[in-house]
C-alpha cells in the first residue's frame, strides 16, 4: 500500500537554513546539508528546500546547496523559490533536485507549467498554491510573491487548472495558518484534494502530531509538510510516523 509521506521543509537563504515567523525575524538555524542528513536518518520520505532569497546570486548559492545535499542524501528532493524560467528548472535538476515547485511564475504565465511538464515531465513539476480564506466564505484566494500579493483567483479552481496544465502535484499552503501552529486549514486541504486527481501536499500551521493526522485523514492529503516541529526537535520524524502508525495511517517506518 502506498504510504503517506512526511516532508520536512527547510527555508534557505545565503546557503543557510533560517527560521522565522512569516519570513520575519529570521535566525540562522544551521547548515542545510547537515540538517538534511539528520532528517534522512530519521526516516523523512522527501525533503523540500524553499529558497527565500530573491536575488540571482542567491540562486547560485541555492544550486550549490542542492548539489551538496544530493551527494549525501538519497531521497526525493524538491526545490522551490525563484523558479521562473525553464533554465532555472534545468539547473536545479542537474544539481540533483527531483522536483521544482513553481508559484509566482505560474500565475504570471500559466503556459510555463505546461512547458515545464512537457520538457521535464509532470513528476517533477510541482505547483505551489499559497491560499488565504476569503473572510466569511468557504473559498480561498490565491496569493503570489511569497504570499504577499493577492490575485483575485480562486485557489481551488487554480489547482484544477494547474492539474490540466500538467502539474504532477500541488503544494498547498494556507497563508492564514502558516506560522500559527494551529494546524492545517483542513477545509482548504479537503476542498483541493477532492477537486484534483493529482496528490496534494498539505502545508502551513503544524504545531503538533495530531495536526499531521488531521491533514491525512480529514484533509485527504497525500503528503504533509512541516518545518518548525521537526526543526526545533519537538518531535523527530520517526516519532511522528510512529504516532501516525498507531492511529492507523499507513507510513513507512
Amino acid at each position: 500500500m502506498l504510504t503517506r509521506r512526511i516532508i520536512p521543509c527547510l527555508d534557505v537563504t545565503g546557503g543557510r537554513v533560517v527560521k522565522g515567523v512569516r519570513f520575519l525575524d529570521l535566525r540562522d538555524a544551521g547548515d542545510p546539508v547537515e540538517i538534511a542528513e539528520r532528517y534522512d536518518h530519521e526516516g523523512a520520505d522527501e525533503l523540500a528546500f524553499l529558497d527565500i532569497t530573491a536575488s540571482s546570486d542567491g540562486r547560485d548559492t541555492m544550486t550549490e546547496v542542492v548539489r551538496r545535499t544530493a551527494e549525501r542524501v538519497f531521497m526525493p528532493l524538491t526545490v522551490g523559490g525563484g523558479i521562473r524560467v525553464i533554465d532555472d528548472i534545468r539547473r536545479m535538476l542537474n544539481a540533483g533536485a527531483d522536483k521544482v515547485s513553481i508559484n509566482t511564475a505560474a500565475v504570471e504565465r500559466p503556459d510555463f507549467v505546461r512547458e515545464a511538464a512537457e520538457r521535464f515531465g509532470s513528476q517533477c513539476t510541482v505547483v505551489a498554491v499559497d491560499a488565504r480564506r476569503v473572510p466569511g466564505e468557504e473559498r480561498w484566494e490565491l496569493f503570489t510573491h511569497g504570499g504577499r500579493r493577492p490575485t483575485g483567483i480562486d485557489a481551488v479552481e487554480w489547482g484544477v487548472k494547474m492539474e490540466m496544465a500538467g502539474a504532477g502535484e500541488i503544494l498547498l499552503t494556507s497563508m492564514d495558518r502558516d506560522g500559527t501552529r494551529d494546524g492545517y486549514d483542513i477545509a482548504l486541504t479537503r476542498a483541493m484534494s477532492d477537486a484534483l486527481s493529482i496528490p496534494v501536499i498539505a502545508s502551513g500551521g503544524v504545531g503538533n502530531l495530531e495536526h499531521l493526522y488531521e491533514g491525512f485523514t480529514d484533509g485527504g492529503a497525500s503528503a504533509c509538510l512541516a518545518a518548525s516541529i521537526f526543526h526545533f526537535r519537538e518531535s523527530t520524524i520517526r516519532e511522528a510516523k510512529e504516532y501516525l502508525k498507531k492511529r492507523g495511517v499507513p507510513v513507512r517506518l
Binding site: M1, L2, T3, A70, F74, C124, I198
Partner: protein
C-alpha cells in the same frame, strides 16, 4: 565501469552519486560509443515515453544499447528506462519502444479505489515490493521493502516469468523484472535510501 546513459532527461547526478557511495565507478555519458566500452549499462529516465524514445534515437543510442543487451552486458533500466524496453506504450498515443521485452506499457485505470478513497495518479511515494523468485538484484533485500515510485504508467510483460517483483496500487503491477542480463525497476533505487543503495551495490557486483 558503469555507463549511465544521458539523453537529456532528468536528474542523473543522484544515480552517479549513489554508485559512488557504494564504491562503484559510474560515468554519465552522452556518447553512444561509451555503451560499447562500458562493462555495465544503466538507462534512467523520467518524463514522457515518446520524448525519451525520441531523445534516445536522436542521441544515437538505440543500436548500441540493443547490441550491448544482446551481447549479454548487465543492463539496468529505471522508471522510463524500464518502460522503454517494451514493445510499445500508450502514453500520448501509441509509441514503439526498444522491443527487448515483449509486452506493453499502460496507464493506471481511472477511478481506482482503495479503502473507499479514489487513488491519485501519478502513483507517487513509497510503496512495498513483493519479491518473486531469486534475483541477484534483490540479494539482502527484505520482502515488503519500501521503495520510491513516481509514475502514471506501468509495464505488462507478455511473459509473466520475467516479473521479479510486484507492487499493489489499486491494481497489482510488475514493479521489477529480470531476464538474463536485463534488470529493470519501476521504482527509483537512487531515491530509495539504504534499500535502493543496496540494489545499486548488487547491480555493480553482478
Amino acid at each position: 565501469m558503469i555507463a549511465i546513459i544521458d539523453y537529456g532527461m532528468g536528474n542523473l547526478r543522484s544515480l552517479q552519486k549513489g554508485f559512488e557511495k557504494i564504491g562503484a565507478e559510474a560515468v554519465i555519458t552522452s556518447e553512444p560509443d561509451t555503451v560499447a566500452s562500458a562493462g555495465k549499462i544503466v538507462l534512467p529516465g523520467v518524463g514522457a515515453f515518446r520524448d525519451c524514445m525520441r531523445n534516445l534515437a536522436e542521441g544515437g543510442f538505440v543500436k548500441p544499447l540493443l547490441d550491448a543487451i544482446a551481447a549479454g552486458k548487465p543492463f539496468l533500466g529505471i522508471c522510463l528506462g524500464m518502460q522503454m524496453l517494451f514493445t510499445d506504450s500508450s502514453e500520448f498515443g501509441l509509441h514503439r519502444g526498444l522491443g527487448v521485452i515483449p509486452g506493453h506499457v499502460r496507464r493506471f485505470p481511472e477511478n481506482m479505489i482503495e479503502d473507499g478513497k479514489r487513488l491519485k495518479v501519478p502513483h507517487m511515494g513509497w510503496n512495498q515490493i513483493r519479491l518473486l523468485g531469486d534475483n541477484p538484484l534483490f540479494q539482502g533485500i527484505d520482502e515488503g521493502s519500501d521503495l520510491y515510485f513516481v509514475h502514471s504508467f506501468y509495464v505488462i510483460p507478455d511473459d509473466p516469468g520475467v516479473i521479479a517483483a510486484k507492487t499493489v496500487y489499486g491494481i497489482e503491477f510488475c514493479s521489477a523484472l529480470c531476464k538474463g542480463n536485463i534488470f529493470a525497476t519501476q521504482f527509483h533505487p537512487e531515491k530509495s535510501q539504504e534499500t535502493g543503495l543496496r540494489m545499486l551495490k548488487n547491480f555493480a557486483a553482478i
